[in-house]
Symmetry: D3
Subunit: 295 residues, 6 copies
């Protein structure tokens, strides 16, 4: 392209982006970090984390308040292996006994969380690591099923997050929490992201995953849905057309939308800057689910 064409494209991208930037300044986004699922193809894990961190800092730089939520299943499994702790399984799900819980807490809070915090703070020293136990942020209760110390979110007390966001900081939340008796639990990160988004009145809830979005007819590539309403997603989930791993994400999306979140997004975390493209362009790159009917 020649210079003039480049200038034309640039000025169009800017004209298109500025109204979004204006609109989202001061808004809060909760982003579920997809863990190592975000690496793949031409990009390794460290580079993926680095790219994610850079985008988060860019969002913060234009006044968007970002909360990052993460889990760390594979890393927990790896450490259990190193310590020779055998796991029981119920219906294919790992039972979190007390030894497992100790390891999960160490890995989530002492390994995965500081890695994400460190990646962000290399660009700007704004990230602060949190767990659900800090100042009673998340009160947990034991989840149904015989899975041991696997918890679910009983309530969220969002004051701490809100104040940190007001100070321009970026909370990075490890999904460990305690119940009213002080007992710790490990909680599914997709669920926690949705619950926090609802509790703090987030504008957007964004899941970074290793798929392009929601497919009406998986795995047909051209059945990718760009935009859907809560009702449509509800029907899809009910129809059984949705893949297993996507269910907790979509359920959490629907809950968050009911709690007042304006839109929920499923993005492919492996595409560089997919966050920026989804937020600041008209067409977006993933699936956006909104409360009202899609048109």
């Amino acid at each position: 392209m020649n210079d003039l064409d480049v200038a034309l494209i640039k000025s169009q991208v800017l004209s298109e982006a500025l109204p979004y930037i204006r609109r989202f300044a001061g808004s809060t986004f909760v982003i579920k970090h997809g863990g190592n699922a975000m690496a793949g193809g031409a990009i390794d894990e460290a580079a993926a984390l680095d790219s994610f961190a850079r985008d988060v800092v860019l969002l913060a730089s234009v006044g968007i308040k970002v909360v990052v939520v993460h889990g760390g299943g594979p890393q927990i499994g790896e450490m259990l292996g190193r310590l020779g702790i055998a796991s029981q399984f119920v219906n294919g799900l790992r039972v979190t006994d007390s030894a497992t819980l100790e390891v999960a807490r160490m890995v989530l809070m002492g390994k995965v969380n500081p890695e994400i915090v460190g990646a962000i703070n290399k660009f700007a020293p704004l990230a602060i690591g949190l767990s659900g136990a800090d100042t009673g942020l998340i009160v947990a209760s034991r989840a149904q099923g015989d899975l041991g110390f696997v918890g679910e979110v009983q309530s969220v007390q969002p004051d701490l997050i809100i104040r940190l966001l007001e100070q321009g900081l970026i909370p990075v939340v490890a999904t460990v929490a305690v119940d009213v008796m002080g007992q710790a639990y490990n909680i599914n990160a997709d669920t926690v992201a949705g619950a926090i988004a609802g509790a703090i009145g987030a504008e957007k809830l964004i899941y970074l995953t290793n798929v392009e979005g929601i497919y009406a007819n998986w795995p047909e590539q051209d059945s990718l849905i760009r935009r859907a309403s809560s009702a449509e997603v509800g029907s899809l989930v009910a129809s059984g057309a949705i893949s297993e791993g996507m269910i907790p994400k979509l359920t959490s999306c629907l809950h968050a939308l009911e709690s007042g979140v304006s839109s929920a997004h499923i993005l492919d975390g492996r595409v560089e800057h997919s966050l920026l493209l989804e937020i600041f362009t008209d067409s977006g790159v993933g699936t956006m689910v909104t409360r009202e009917e899609a048109s």
Copy 2:
């Protein structure tokens, strides 16, 4: 281009622009509107004004505080003609006698200013028309030479502009002012733009003109200067290599830079969105003059 290439370019433009958006949020820019010189080529006067107004509102939408300054020589001449008021000339410059002054004030404040205000307010009702006489904004004194009621800037009392900017408004300043005795004067708009930029501590002073920028060796196209220091521009002016019409602009740039303005820009107002491209891209599209040595 295919979708992926487009996404790539978009994400690069955004990555490039966001740090500028962050950096300039809350900064003040004084923009000298170039009048009908901004029309030309494929774009007519109304469309040029419309495009300018849209860019100003986009800048305001991302937290940049914009002051617009304008003159209106051709329109004054046209109205003098309609009223059959003949002008005297001294060294080729029109003498502003009292009848001329009355017409100049009417045209600047009652015709040109409301047109710019109206164009901006169609996008967002943020523009407010001002003249130098409002709340003693500009105190004028009679300029040297026998040009009648042509004034120069004695002092700027910037409180009004600063407060309007703090309220998110866009002051549009017609360059009429009064002296301490209440006598009105017409003042060169390039000078007023520079004086206001200095007085309010603007980050940028931007002249929208009908040339691409400063040429080291006018009219050789490839002698266009992208970036220069005050010292370099001072040398150029002294060398006589600069075209006549550019002198007041460059002199005002140098004064403004001395008063604390960080950078002054000469842009081609006929290029659509040249404001956005100059401000939000690494390469820019015109000439940027900075206080410190260019590197």
Copy 3:
């Protein structure tokens, strides 16, 4: 009079005035300036404007927030004549075609308005010229009848005026406004004064005219009314006893009183300091109309 008598009178005037000064400090008055009708008798136009400006500054000095509203019919007519623009008339009213509108805007904003602003700013640099188009202050719509670009007030967005008043400034409003499509209109100044008074919750709406007040039985001198209720004025208007030119003023008074303004005043602007006497003495000098029954 000897010194003691003078002291006695002075102390009585002060005792009488101070409670009014206390009561009105912080209140807002909208004053419709009567134009050249305010000159007459021993006082010429320039002196009348000067005297008016001095009183406005005195009011401001004791904490009264003053908004001045003005039209300029005669000056517009004069300029149309100079430009050789002939006018059509419908029922004796001038039709405002597009050429007339351009002239009206130039004269109101570029001539009458800066004259009033300049007169006030000679005493204290507090006046700022506005038109209804600034920041969408007044939204107009086309008035009924075939009068062209004669508008009526659709709505008032008073934020700008309120903020300027809070800063201790004196807005001077030219009665030009635009509709939602950006089309400009000329609007009757009496109507605009009443609409602004209602919208900003003014305490008083004051019309400076060339009559002493309202007469129950015009032109009988001793039928001058000092104080009347809305209901009484409504009856008078309905009875047809009121002179033609007074109707828009009284109609606007009644609307303003309905919108919450506490009292409306018709004063003789040709009497020096009539503003001060009406506001700060028990007896007053013109006609005061109040919402509740007069007693």
Copy 4:
């Protein structure tokens, strides 16, 4: 006089007064109440107190912060007589032994002070009675001479007064104070008024007395001084031309002027509204002493 003449005089008084009202709004005046010396001629004691209270409330109503200071020598003498407490005298001055002090405190705080507070509060409930002992307002020390518990002002801690004034209240100060050991003293009220005026940075210190002002050559009526500088008053005091009772007032005036008070006034409290006339008219009615040279 006919109506027009009255209107003329009224408008002149108002034009003259408004700038003073503007200038003194927010200023602080310390007024030494002259006790029963303010009665005389056609006005009895109760009416004099009532008139004084009304003027104080008028001053407060236009934003002047007023502190009233009073003593009560005659009332103390009367109560000592009723209780049959005989007094010793040294050089003609009453010695304040411990029984006398108890009576002085009762009379000043329990009789004179509530009478002044009550008189003001009938017009507006703004007065609050204080003594120098409240929150350590005045720290006293024993005065020289063998006069027992007669104190002098060691220091003033003005926070309490300043905060009450900021709340729009009118402190009325009885001149009893304690020393650092908690021992109470009676202090000369002229001195206390001057010390408080200096400590709170008052604009004016005003003594209401039973003379018209300072006479250059007492008792020649036409030697009354309207305006004098500190230096001139200092010379007069040194020359011995000043009557005995005026000395503490003038000495306190000079100290207060040195401490930053702008002007000190000696007024005839027996002239009704002399406070208003002195403050709000060009000519005034008593003697004004200023820091700088009188011209």
Copy 5:
């Protein structure tokens, strides 16, 4: 006791007290000072006042806002005797004629009040003497019965007290007040304490007396009540089991509790630090009456 035992007790007292200190920081307590009834046994009047003052300053030091209310019957009687003013009695109650009222006001405001203020200010200069007449704090009306200028509380305007408390000061209120016509009255101090407590939304109303508390079956020592509900106290008063002098206190307690005060306390003022023990220990030392049922 050895050092370890002492440390153990100390740490227990601290552990017990800290939660109360936390809970009451920022709360307001109204304390009725019991006058000379608080002396007795091993402690004389001056020492009792000193001990009271110290406790009040300690309460203030941990953020409790304290209002002190006092009467002074015995001191008034003594001064009436010294002045030879005979009193009439109706049903055994002294009639307050105008001479008596003058003495009562002098004694309460000029003798008792400054003694309490002075005692507190020896520890920290925080006390400020008030009467009900200051800034219209208490509006009185004539009480029923033929007792002359004995008043009752018509209304309380608590702004002054609230602002002084916000500044960290300790108001000490003498129970003199005026009616709407400016006539002064003497009012029962128990009643005033209750009315102020209700009006300012106090947390606690505390009566310091010369008994240990309320007895269910006076004078049986072991019928002392530690804690009672409003209802229980209401029944006791109705049953006639309560001693005469306790009735106004209990009636005022019940009114105050109805007005929103959380608890009312009857304490033995002769026990040193009884204030601290009642407030900061679990068991307390007197009788606490609460709104809700005691359990």
Copy 6:
């Protein structure tokens, strides 16, 4: 003891404690938690942690801002053992290679820190876990010696801690930090506590240990020092009379005192409530080191 004696002691403890409570309200204390060294004698580890947490919450309840700092050497060693990671030693000190660092970070941030946070939050949900990497709180650099990733404090950026304290929260800091390149280090907790105390302008720095305090002549029991100056402690350290493990504590004390901390304390953490006794009683229970000469 009978009731009266108990009341006497209680009132004395309260009288003694209240001035300290007043003095320290709003002050900041940095407390180095002693780890499992705080257990011993009759109290097990869980009970010791529980007792510590309760005292911290009591301090917070009376307005003291508490920062807790901890290490966790024994727990790190235990986990290294479980993972079969052998350690190298240099001069008896464990070398922190990259595998060891990963374990240290997991144990400090994922095990020890959440245990302390959890213990506090059982009493009041105020604790928030931090590491030196959060928002760039501590910038580390590699310590001298060949100990691998053992760091020292390069600088402290205390904004985050100060803001959390202002919100009434209790930061609990794990002593892991990163250098400017993002490399993590483990740092000695005694040193970190002193550096933070200096950086945030703490009033007190408190080390909870398993000894009673500093001994002038260890291990002679009666050589325990209650109070010492910086100079005296400096001499003791220089003299070699101090036990090895106490050196980093005392060195950090001296640095903190130089940085503006008012006093540093060495307490026996095994004595229940030793924190309360040291802070709120005249005699204290450990060793207090102050900047100025002890007297």
